[in-house]
Amino acid sequence: MIRSLPTPRFLLQQLIHRRIEGEFAQRIERAFPTDAPTIARVRAQILAQAQLVHPTSAPLPAQRLVRRNLPRATTSFAVLAIVVAGGLAATAALTSHPAPSIQPAAFVLDMDRSAASLQDVLATAGAGDSAVLGTSLTTYQANLRKLRADLGLPGVDLVAAASGIRAQSLALASISNQVSAANLNLFQSVTADLNAIIAVLPAPTDNHPGPSAHPGSSDHPGPSDHPGQSAHPGTTDHPGPSDHAGNSDHPGPSDHPGNSNHPKPSHKPLPSQANGKAKGP
């Protein structure tokens, strides 16, 4: 088939069109400059959130809880929730650490209880005090650093260290649902610390086949980990209304969905605890 060559007139039109296009693109770039600090800030937040959406370790009660609440939370509240969840995840991940001082089953039960309390704390978190929040964050960060340092030391009581972090997380959640701009960097730094800690911990699936330590299969989380429409609202292209539950600054009742977010096992002892036995690694 012979293709006709473009006419000079057509080529000229193309050239003019490309030039106009280029000029227009430049005008847009000039009129709407991108805000580099915003882009960087959002990057850090997204990577922290990605940890929750695609957790590298087994989904834990607290993670599931926050993941369900996350789409409806405000940005700042979500960051706080991530920090709390990250703290809890890091704490729980310690159960798979092969240190002799750890009693995984008892610890997981404790974690489940924490997740239940966390739900209440998140539900009732009121107006924030930035100054207190800043101080608590600093302490929290110091605790994380200590934990990270301790991880390399033999014979350290990891449970006690982890409990400290959990307590800090809960304290943080109780004092504020707002994050001031001044605290944002600190939050990001804390999140980075958490990620660093989680990164050095062994994956629970590798070391922990025991059902008492990890309720549910960690490789293939069951229906409770993927609660269909509520966790993944709408279709890919048209996310459903649950992503936009009214005014995000004042999460309404839909942000606190009653019992469904309370993992059942958290309220009753696991078989191993009932027997007074802990299945360790």
Binding site: I28, A31, F32, I46, P55, T75, H238, P239, D243, H244
Partner: protein, 189 residues
């Protein structure tokens, strides 16, 4: 990043690789931000939307089929729907100018005023386009999509997209030219 490289990165991101997610953000973050700022009036909204869009993308990644839409087109479909949902629920837009001026720290006051004028003219001109022309212009110039990607995204032929873009730019040139001249003469008066 080439389309095949993007596909490889997407495959890693689907497995939850945080580095891959970071790389995708590095490629598309600015483009999504620019796509969003032309449609909202508040810097906080733009930031919130940028974050929400990427979170949705990460959540939806397991369902993304590489044989279907190119990733960029798929991502901007999510972006567009998120912005539309946002428009439906939020009407309390504040000024975007302050944040854009902050982002533009190197420019002097005179130049900033000029840029603000141009921004207002551009935005107003884009709003006057037909819905399809507006979509093509924002996908092409704000999101940086190729004609092919826009065609797939809008379910049209590439030729039709080129025609829409051509007409849109012609209209914009006429409107912006008039607006800027009008605004300049107003400020002189």
């Amino acid at each position: 990043m080439h389309e095949t490289d993007i596909d490889r990165t997407v495959a890693r991101a689907k497995l939850g690789d945080p580095t891959a997610i970071g790389e995708l953000y590095d490629v598309f973050g600015q483009r999504v931000y620019r796509f969003v700022i032309v449609r909202v009036r508040s810097a906080a909204d733009a930031e919130d939307l940028l974050q929400r869009i990427f979170l949705k993308v990460i959540e939806s990644l397991p369902r993304y089929e590489q044989r279907g839409l190119p990733f960029a087109a798929w991502l901007f479909r999510i972006a567009r729907n998120t912005v539309i949902d946002h428009d439906r629920t939020r009407r309390d837009h504040a000024s975007l100018d302050a944040s854009l001026e902050r982002a533009d720290g190197r420019r002097g006051p005179e130049e900033l005023a000029e840029v603000a004028l141009e921004r207002a003219a551009l935005r107003s001109a884009i709003e006057r386009l037909t819905q399809e022309q507006r979509d093509v212009v924002t996908y092409r110039f704000f999101a940086g999509l190729s004609t092919r990607e826009i065609a797939l995204l809008m379910d049209r032929q590439e030729g039709a997209i080129r025609a829409l873009q051509f007409r849109a730019i012609q209209t914009l040139r006429e409107t912006i030219g008039n607006d800027v001249e009008f605004a300049a003469s107003e400020s002189r008066a």
